[in-house]
């Protein structure tokens, strides 16, 4: 095949892999699974198990056998740098203050599945392996043991972060154990590879001797040199291209060294990452530079390469599926049982020990790396490779749902929430989700007007929440020390404004995979009375009440207000369009708060069809407004204005020009109902130049749409 055709083919393959990988990753995030799961499945889909099965002709065109070597080369480069990044994430400081528990649990979570894997080899060897020199029983048993004992540290970190468990004792123990597991498992694997590759005591001792010299060189020569490089970085506070190139060359040199020694190139990359200086700006910058290309471009190619070698079609006999089930069972029992029993032995409750066991059973990408090594060494057959790939996918996919059962979020969060609510009286709580720094200050201003001012400050609580989308993070590695915290740069402008206004705001920031759901969940957890949101022009369409706003409105148990800031400074004149529905009444209540706190005048605008201004319905509305402001301790002058107009929307647009702020409910009559895709014209929002506060009253647990209509008492109902 001509070189130009190979290049074209490689470009097509890479594009296809990238597109399917990101799509599947996105879908799996929606299914509340780690993104890496989707990317692994995408790889399988591109292989003979699906693409080749459904469209064999096209499959041979797109992935001809002689082109696979190029994908392999790219994927191996990707895995080398990925393992370097994994090593980079490992920080021995994690072991501090964890006591014996982490060490015992992590070693139990390695030894037990290793033993069970080796035991399983006694049964599988006569049935699934061939009598080749590479598949000697010793190699097979040790390899199966090592493959069963791996835990995917990066995927585990991701799951913990997604569930906000990483700061809990359970999360801290799990992540420490996984880190120890990774380091131990790679050392064990290096040993297994050496056993599989060399025959006889002499070459074995030679490999061991070379390995010791290599490791000593890494620690006593290369590591000090890396610290010098760090000094160079600190001097300029910049990772120059030359510095980056030196580090990349070192990674590759380390890989070549371990390959020549006979303990595999990936071990060299991993050890290079492990000995890098930890927790410094140098490492963070380096990691950021490498992560994107490795994770977005090269790892999906590795998944595709793995998928191309995975022939699920080979499992065409009932007994082969029985072996697959047995492998999954052995892997899960070994990992879960070993970790859980050890955790219980260390004093954790059964529920917590179960959670640790479930978490440690996550294998993910690291398992695929090991399986590919085994396949390349000839230690496992094609069918066993397919079985083990299925095991890796199943154990990883089951982690999140089983963790949810064993250790529900309510368990992790419930105690905290209950203690907090018992400890303090229920103040009026406003939750302000902030996605961009610029949104914060106007929301802080509005919150200060909505909640009672001092001396009633104790009666209000304002929480600023910044959720960082998980998609913005590398899905494989999360620097645990940096992930969630009480501060976020995004919240700083809001906090500055709050300080200037002399109001107390509690800042919270964490990583989220589903921002609207997490806003609703957090509001429920903190018993927020009101979610006060900002508005950003959507990428597609013009709607304010679509997309994220719609999802928060429909998912939350709190009232929601969306503030459309149009150079809002002071609320001197406030307009409340009012027809009498529940959202309107909510709008009236909030407008009253703003008017009282800002010493503003309030006008209630009631629009009726022509010749209906004297009807009983208008009197009813008037009475409802008066009741709202009937509190004698807080007298509130309200201007009640009735306008006859066949179009309530036009009447509001016309009248709003004279006001600083319009507070309006999401009543259908105003054309302000929220929709997921937001294709509806929101004329009031688009055609008024005044700042808007769009209000939605929580409908209650039962469907409340019809109820809203029933409550409309005025002429346009």
């Amino acid at each position: 095949m001509a070189a130009s055709r190979f290049i074209l083919l490689l470009v097509v393959q890479t594009g296809l892999i990238l597109a399917l990988s990101r799509t599947m990753g996105f879908l799996f995030i929606r299914l509340r699974q780690p993104q890496v799961m989707g990317e692994m499945i995408a790889g399988i889909m591109l292989g003979p198990s699906l693409f080749g099965l459904l469209m064999p002709g096209m499959f041979k065109e797109v992935f001809p056998a002689d082109s696979i070597q190029y994908l392999n080369a790219l994927s191996q480069i990707g895995v080398i740098f990925f393992l370097f990044l994994v090593g980079l994430e490992l920080d021995p400081k994690m072991l501090r203050h964890r006591g014996q528990a982490a060490v015992i649990i992590s070693h139990a979570s390695i030894l037990t599945p290793f033993f069970i894997g080796a035991l399983l080899a006694l049964f599988l060897y006569p049935n699934l392996f061939n009598a080749t020199p590479a598949m000697r029983f010793t190699s097979v048993a040790l390899f199966l043991g090592a493959a069963m004992s791996i835990t995917a540290f990066p995927v585990l970190a991701r799951i913990l972060t997604e569930r906000n468990l990483h700061k809990t004792p359970i999360g801290a123990i799990a992540i420490t154990c996984a880190a120890v597991d990774d380091a131990t498992a790679w050392c064990m694997l290096a040993f297994v590879i050496a056993v599989a590759r060399v025959a006889g005591v002499g070459p074995g001792l030679m490999t061991a001797g070379k390995s010791i010299v290599y490791i000593a060189t890494m620690f006593f020569v290369v590591r000090p040199f890396l610290k010098r490089l760090e000094l160079v970085f600190e001097r300029s506070n910049h990772l120059s291209q030359n510095l980056l190139a030196i580090i990349l060359v070192l990674v590759l040199a380390s890989s070549i060294a371990t390959e020549l020694i006979g303990i595999h190139a990936l071990f060299g990359a991993f050890l290079m990452g492990a000995i890098m200086p930890k927790g410094t700006a140098f490492v963070r910058t380096l990691s950021n530079k490498l992560e994107d290309y490795t994770v977005v471009l090269l790892l999906p190619i590795f998944f595709a390469y793995t998928g191309l070698r995975t022939q699920i079609g080979l499992l065409n006999h009932a007994s082969l599926w029985m072996y697959t089930g047995l492998i999954i069972l052995a892997a899960s029992v070994g990992k879960f049982g070993g970790s859980a029993v050890a955790a219980r032995f260390c004093g954790l409750s059964w529920r917590e020990a179960g959670a640790i066991g479930v978490l440690m059973n996550t294998r993910g990408l690291m398992e695929l790396v090991i399986l590919n090594i085994g396949r390349d060494l000839g230690v496992i057959t094609d069918a066993v490779f397919a079985m083990m790939v299925i095991m890796a996918i199943v154990t990883t996919a089951l982690t999140t749902p089983i963790l949810h059962l064993v250790y529900p979020k309510a368990k992790a969060e419930g105690k905290e929430a209950a203690a907090r609510e018992l400890a303090e009286r229920r103040p009026f709580t406003v939750l302000i989700p902030v996605s961009l720094p610029a949104s914060g200050p106007p929301l802080a201003k509005m919150a200060s007007l909505l909640a009672p001012p001092p001396p009633l400050d104790a009666g209000r609580r304002i929480i600023a929440l910044h959720l960082q989308r998980l998609a913005d993070h590398d899905p494989y590695s999360v620097r645990m020390s940096e992930a969630p915290n009480q501060r976020s740069e995004t919240l700083e402008p809001l906090l500055d404004t709050a300080r200037a206004l002399d109001i107390v705001v509690e800042p919270i920031a964490f990583v989220s995979r589903d921002v609207p759901s997490d806003i609703a969940r957090f509001a429920r957890l903190r018993a927020a009375d009101l979610i006060l949101m900002g508005f950003h022009k959507p990428v597609f369409g013009q709607a304010i009440l679509g997309g994220t706003v719609h999802r928060v409105m429909t998912a939350s148990d709190s009232d929601v207000a969306v503030f459309v800031d149009r150079d809002f400074e002071l609320a001197r004149n406030i307009l409340v369009p009012f027809l009498g529905g529940k959202h309107d009444r909510m709008a009236l209540d909030l407008a009253g708060r703003v008017a009282r706190n800002g010493n503003a005048s309030l006008t209630v605008l009631h629009v009726v069809p022509p010749h209906r201004s004297e009807s009983d319905a208008v009197l009813n509305v008037r009475a409802a407004v008066d009741r709202t402001f009937a509190d004698p301790t807080q007298p509130m002058p309200v201007n009640f204005q009735v306008i006859e107009d066949s179009s309530p929307v036009d009447a509001v647009i016309q009248t709003a020009r004279e006001y600083d702020l319009v507070v309006i409910g999401v009543e259908e009559q105003w054309g302000m109902q929220s929709h997921l895709f937001g294709f509806r014209p929101e004329r009031i929002a688009q055609q008024t130049t005044t700042s808007l506060l769009i209000v939605r009253k929580y409908a209650g647990p039962a469907p409340g749409g019809s109820q809203v209509h029933a409550e409309v008492v005025a002429g346009h109902g």
């Binding site: 080398i80 033993f115 080796a118 061939n130 590479a134 598949m135 010793t138 043991g145 390959e259």
Partner: protein, 154 residues
């Protein structure tokens, strides 16, 4: 016994020792008593007049074998049902496979590369001809060399 170690450390050491002993026992038993099915994976080319024509390829995972004729005909999957040890006075080994309506028998030296195959398939389906075939291994680097190799990642 008090050697400065607490109960947890003692349990830990005992478990580690048991693990090492257990692994050693498994490796000893497996190496001494278990054999994997004969390696048949690779291409088989005709070696006598009876088998003249095209050969076939075998993809094998232990007892589970897929035979794909070179002619491009439909592959079929069979399972090794019997693998005799060489009879006394002869080096020949008999292998019997069944599956997908096929019965395949192979007789050949356990140490050699030539095997006489007999194929009996479903009526009307063309399979490889019965005859003697010679084994051409599919992947010359598998098994890997006995000494470490200098190559890329894999």
């Amino acid at each position: 016994m008090h050697l400065g170690m607490n109960r947890t450390s003692l349990v830990y050491l005992v478990v580690c020792a048991m693990f090492a002993l257990g692994i050693w026992a498994i490796l000893a038993v497996g190496t001494a008593f278990l054999t994997a099915p004969r390696d048949l994976a690779g291409r088989w080319g005709p070696a006598d007049a009876a088998a003249s024509g095209e050969g076939f390829s075998i993809s094998q995972s232990g007892r589970f074998v897929r035979i794909s004729p070179d002619s491009g005909g439909q592959h079929f999957d069979v399972v090794l049902t019997q693998s005799s040890r060489p009879a006394e006075g002869t080096a020949d080994q008999v292998l019997e496979f069944d599956g997908d309506g096929w019965h395949v028998e192979g007789i050949g030296s356990a140490a050699g590369d030539a095997v006489k195959f007999t194929f009996r398939g479903p009526a009307g389906i063309q399979g490889p001809r019965s005859g003697t075939y010679r084994h051409e291994r599919m992947n010359p680097t598998n098994p890997p060399p006995a000494t470490p190799v200098a190559q890329g990642a894999h």
